[in-house]
């Protein structure tokens, strides 16, 4: 499995969030999640300006096998979407923690929302539990 960057935090449902220097939050899905889904062929993105709630669907990723909702780890307003995923959804397969990011959000409740997420070690522990 790919190494998990230490500045990411996770939802149990495999989304990651990273607080950027400017206070915005970048959101994606984990490398483990892309592995479960298999080859991605379509990503449905939200619109810039959409308001996201914690745990509400903010995107849909579709592999050959299945469609899967991406839930927002933080509340806020969508300020940027990774529109290159429209033509190259496989970027998520190739680089889930980097170029495969999905949206950037201007958070409305940053501290509390981030505190409720799992740090990389806790997330890895959960993955091990799932394997058992």
């Amino acid at each position: 499995m790919k190494e998990i960057p230490g500045d990411l935090k996770f939802m149990k449902s495999h989304e990651w969030a990273r607080v950027e220097d400017d206070g915005t939050v970048t959101i994606g899905i984990s490398d483990h999640a892309q592995g479960l889904l298999g080859d991605l062929v379509y990503v449905e993105l939200p619109n810039v300006g959409d308001t996201l709630e914690v745990g509400a669907g903010c995107a849909v990723v579709e592999s050959v096998k299945a469609a899967s909702d991406v839930y927002s780890p933080v509340a806020g307003e969508v300020i940027k979407v990774n529109s290159s995923l429209a033509d190259k959804p496989e970027t998520i397969n190739e680089d889930a923690f980097g170029d495969g990011w999905i949206v950037v959000v201007k958070p409305s409740n940053l501290r509390e929302d981030m505190d409720n997420l799992l740090d990389p070690d806790a997330y890895l522990e959960q993955l091990e539990d799932e394997d058992e």
Binding site: G38, Y42, V64, A67, N93
Partner: protein, 361 residues
């Protein structure tokens, strides 16, 4: 505890992702299922299909029995080795299963039925066979490997003895031969040329490894599903079941209403043919971005239908599907994907044939 084929450890050693399929622990992919798909379309790939059920039928009246049992006519089978695709129907004309019948000799036919329907198929076949004094023997000691793709046959020929290779080279489409302990059928479920090889379990791992060494790419059930849908082939349980007749599943070509043959379900099929079936199965292409999936609602001028098999087609780079919709000119057809209605085109299928998109797709 799920069933395992004799190749289970081989799949795991290749790093396959395993899933439950009809009670069997099977590889869905070994890496990228799209790359496995392209390997079959462009070169050669292989699938472990040992979960499928091989059944040998023997008896003096076995041909008569099959004339009764299945909707296609085994009277088309005149040369030993010749194969026939057909549905086995219930009295209501619904499809119990689809299967391939191989003619061996007048007192010996072989059939291959689906894994997920094994128990009900065997019970049904045995119940019917009693009236014809036909013995029904499952052959669980046989494994099966499908080798498919434009270069598949040549790669197989290279592994056979000269004598068996000479027989295989001459095989016509939908014909089988025997040799080297193998049953080699020029059949498949991908729309490509190739073989389905029935092999004794104890030789299966060796055959798989030799094929792999010859450059045949292991492919999982994921690629098998996208390949067969592109090729316009039905999947039992998804595209048809016991509540659906062959006419409602685009399988009219497999029904033979030949003179004087009283096959099970014939009465209902004749009525449907005369009156027209109320539902039809059509092919759909989504030109917009998105993926067609089983169960999505389809809207037409004559009412709603639904997606049966739907997937992303790696060859076309867009989504394709089978849908069952009300009969009649459908007008503008749309599919409901997560509450959004997207326009789709009704097309003839197969969607892909011999590696290339078909006209109009």
């Amino acid at each position: 505890m799920s069933n395992q084929t004799v190749l289970n450890a081989t799949h795991r050693a290749l790093g396959a992702k395993m899933v439950d399929f009809g009670g069997w622990d099977m590889p869905i992919s070994y890496g990228s299922q799209i790359e496995e798909h392209h390997a079959v379309r462009r070169d050669a790939g292989m699938f472990d299909v040992s979960h499928m059920t091989v059944v040998d039928l023997r008896g003096a009246r076995v041909r008569d029995f099959l004339r009764r049992l299945v909707a296609n006519s085994v009277d088309k089978l005149k040369v030993s080795g010749k194969a026939l695709y057909t549905c086995m129907l219930n009295e209501q004309g619904g499809v119990i299963d689809d299967l391939i019948v191989y003619f061996q000799s007048e007192d010996y036919f072989r059939i291959v039925v689906n894994a997920a329907t094994r128990d009900k198929d065997l019970a049904w076949i045995q119940a019917q066979a009693k009236h014809f004094d036909v013995s029904v023997s499952e052959r669980p000691e046989l494994a099966m490997i499908a080798v498919q793709g434009p270069h598949a046959r040549a790669k197989v020929h290279g592994l056979l003895t000269a004598e068996t290779a000479a027989k295989a080279v001459k095989l016509g489409k939908f014909v089988a031969c025997a040799g080297d302990g193998l049953f080699i059928a020029r059949t498949g479920y991908t729309g490509e040329d190739g073989y389905e090889i029935i092999v004794p379990q104890e030789q299966a791992v060796d055959l798989w490894n030799r094929l792999h060494a010859a450059g045949v790419v292991p492919a999982g059930l994921g690629a098998r599903d996208t390949l067969r849908l592109e090729a316009g082939m039905n999947l039992y349980g998804q595209d048809m079941d016991e509540t659906v007749s062959p006419y409602e599943a685009a399988l009219a070509w497999t029904v033979a209403l030949d003179e004087g043959r009283d096959f099970i379900g014939r009465g209902v099929l004749e009525q449907q043919k005369a009156a027209g079936s109320p539902r039809v199965m059509v092919g759909l292409v989504l030109d917009d971005k998105g993926v067609l999936r089983h169960g999505q609602r389809v809207t037409t001028a004559n009412g709603d239908g639904e997606i049966l098999s739907g997937t992303f087609s790696p060859t076309l780079g867009k989504a394709i599907a089978f849908a069952r919709i009300p009969a009649g000119e459908p007008g503008q057809v749309q599919v409901d994907i997560r509450g959004k209605l997207l326009p789709v085109r009704v097309v003839k299928f197969p969607f892909v044939r011999d590696g290339k998109p078909c006209d109009g797709v």
